[in-house]
Amino acid sequence: MTEKSWMYAVLEAVAAEMRADPAMTWIFELTPPVASNPGMPVINLETEFGRKRVVNTGIDENWMVQAVIGAGLAGSRAATYIPYQGACMPFQAIQNHAGKLRHMTGGKASLPVVFVMEMTGQTPGFAGQHSDYEIDSYYMHIPGVRTVIPSTPYDAKGMMVSALRSPDPVVFLYPAGLRMLSEEVPDDQYEVPLDKAAVRQEGSDLTIVGSGGGMPDVLKAAKRLTDEGMSVEVIDLRVLKQMDTETLVASVAKTKRLLAVDQSYYTLGPAAEVVARCAENVEGARFKRIAFPDAPPPASPEMFNWMRPDAERVYAAAKAMV
């Protein structure tokens, strides 16, 4: 057990699976599968497993995803790391092929594959195409893929192990804004389920639901609210498809107040689904969402930072509800 970064924890999971399965492959483009961590051996999939299994391609994310689909159909476990700039290039291949093949073939096709989809670090200054945080929604509506969005290194490793071992295709969202997070992560392989939300903090006055890159801000706001005496329940979605309705509904049935927070755009962000599921199942509760406005992220840090639903915004929204 050592304190590890998100990426180190994830590549540790991948390397162990690749050692155990000589057929497994990894395709990357500009992000070499390399990670280091103080006191730990450097992980470098390319040098460890060689260029037949670990391939550095040209700028063609659509091919990367389709190659992984083809490898999976041929019986090889396979994964690819798609940089955020290309995260919607392979959209059709996941929507119309990966997500449908098992069902369309009446169960004859199996896709033991993982698409690691980087999400931007939401770095101010990069503007429209490099600071956006929107792909959670697109990849959440697709049936037949398990879309997950771990927000801690521990979950990231455990969910990567589960994803690689799953016979279902997994869209593994990596909010790159979390790259600096680190925490204690076991050295051995372990699984975190691909269908359970996590209750990060229990409480009875208000349920706050967030996910992925938004979690640090949600937790920060919750801490401040708790310090001020509010009893806040915090849920980290972790899984977008299939969303864990039970955990959400149980919480809102208790607190009767739901604040759902998205870093994604407001319209049809994951929070819309969170609110809708709870509204269908809990009567007499109050509901509120905050999210990035329905506008692309502008370059100027002044504009961009003002538009993010950050800890301050979460805090204010919670205060307005309780």
Binding site: P22, A23, T25, I27, K52, R53, V55, T57, G58, D60, N62, W63, Q66, A67, V68, I69, G70, A71, G72, L73, A74, G75, S76, A78, Q92, A93, N96, H97, L101, R102, H103, M104, T105, G106, G107, K108, A109, S110, P143, G144, R146, S166, P167, D168, Q242
Partner: protein, 399 residues
């Protein structure tokens, strides 16, 4: 030389080449073979060396595809209870047959070659070894069909024979097929991945992705482009600046052949060369088969029960129809006739034996349709299964 004598010879292992020397003495060997059969001087005439049963098997496969097509068309035109639809493959049978004859079609899944198909899959499926009865039940939406009624024509798949599936989309299949080839190379297998695609695939962005990555990574990948001159209702010159699409593949440094897609043996020769190259680590090959479909793009408009082919009006074409004379001209060079005549020339069978084979095939097809029609319909609730490997999704249409 009569067919019985010949049959015995084959069983005794007389090679095709050996036989041909005899046939050549009789002065008929190449007489009725297709015009273009020897056109490409560099290509080895591998079909000559095949055992008789393999050669006759190719004719039988062509006939099976053809009679499946014709029976289906007749069903669609005459039986109002019949619910299946089809993208007809008739006219192109020699391509699927010649290619699949060069592949490894049985054995454990991690040793067979795989083939990816298109929206026009029935010929590829039968050639690759898919069971006709199961396929037909699937096309008729039956619970006991090949894919439990989830797939119907456009998504039939049977990985157990390496038939990786039809695909209703134009483009992605090619890139996906390179992924299987990538997996084979990564795990040190000598399997080969083949994709069938139409002339319509040329314009897709995936064309570039598939060829470029196959070349860069030297993948055991074969792109079989069936150039039947039309994508839906547009001639391929609307979407492609090349006369031979093979030229586009050559630009990547990929060996490419243009073959007469109506002559199964010429197709086989090119496929055999490609498979040998792929298995031995020599990388990808592109085969352009010039061919033609006898029916309209989809379904049986313009067709008549009991007759082969469809002419003229197609409501889906709206403004653009293929010239009837073009269809009839291509039907003069029919893959069934060419294969049959070649085998008769070569003395493998006589007309009577060929007719007998055709009758056997017809009976088999009739039986497959009859069997399929008796199969149970699907249970509505089963639509919620197979979304993931385990479990069912929730019936959200119900309040």
């Amino acid at each position: 030389m009569n067919s019985t004598a010949h049959h015995t010879a084959t069983e005794e292992g007389v090679s095709r080449r050996g036989f041909l020397q005899i046939a050549a003495l009789a002065g008929t060997a190449a007489g009725m073979a297709s015009r273009a059969a020897y056109a490409d001087g560099q290509i080895g005439y591998w079909a000559m060396d095949l055992p008789d049963d393999k050669l006759k098997g190719m004719l039988r496969t062509i006939l099976r595809i053809r009679w499946h097509e014709r029976t289906m068309a007749d069903k669609m035109l005459t039986d109002s209870n019949y619910r299946g639809y089809n993208h007809f493959y008739a006219g192109q049978e020699a391509v699927a047959t010649g290619v699949c004859a060069a592949l490894r079609n049985d054995g454990p899944f991690d040793q067979i070659d795989v083939a990816y198909s298109t929206h026009r899959p029935s010929g590829h499926a039968l050639a690759k070894g898919v069971d006709m009865k199961l396929m037909q039940a699937e096309m008729d939406f039956r619970a006991t069909g090949l894919n439990g009624g989830y797939a119907a024509e456009m998504h039939i798949a049977d990985p157990s024979v390496g038939f990786m599936g039809a695909d209703g989309m134009i483009g992605p299949g090619h890139a996906i097929a390179t992924g299987s080839a990538f997996a084979f190379r990564a795990r040190g297998s000598d399997q080969v991945s083949v994709v069938f695609g139409g002339d319509g695939t040329y314009a897709t962005p995936h064309f570039h992705s598939a060829l470029n990555n196959a070349k860069l990574l030297d993948l055991p990948f074969i792109y079989v482009l069936e150039n039947n001159l039309y994508h839906q209702y547009a001639h391929y010159s609307y979407s492609c600046p090349h006369t031979d699409i093979a030229d586009a593949a050559r630009a990547y440094g990929i060996p490419a052949r243009v073959v007469d897609g109506q002559d199964v043996f010429q197709v086989y020769n090119a496929a055999k060369e490609a498979v040998d190259r792929a298995r031995s680590g020599g990388g990808p090959t592109f085969i352009e088969a010039k061919t033609y479909r006898y029916y309209n793009h989809w379904g049986a408009p313009g067709a008549e029960a009991g007759k082969l082919g469809a002419f003229g009006y197609d409501p889906l074409a709206i403004t653009s129809f293929r010239p009837e004379r073009e269809v009839r001209a291509w039907m003069q060079r029919d893959p069934v006739d060419i294969a049959r005549k070649t085998l008769i020339d070569w003395g493998l069978l006589d007309a009577a034996a060929a007719d007998a084979m055709e009758e056997e095939v017809k009976a088999e097809v009739t039986e497959a349709f009859a069997w399929a029609a008796e199969q149970p319909l699907c249970k509505p609730e089963d639509g919620l299964k197979n979304v993931f490997a385990e479990g069912e999704v929730i019936p959200r249409q119900i309040a």
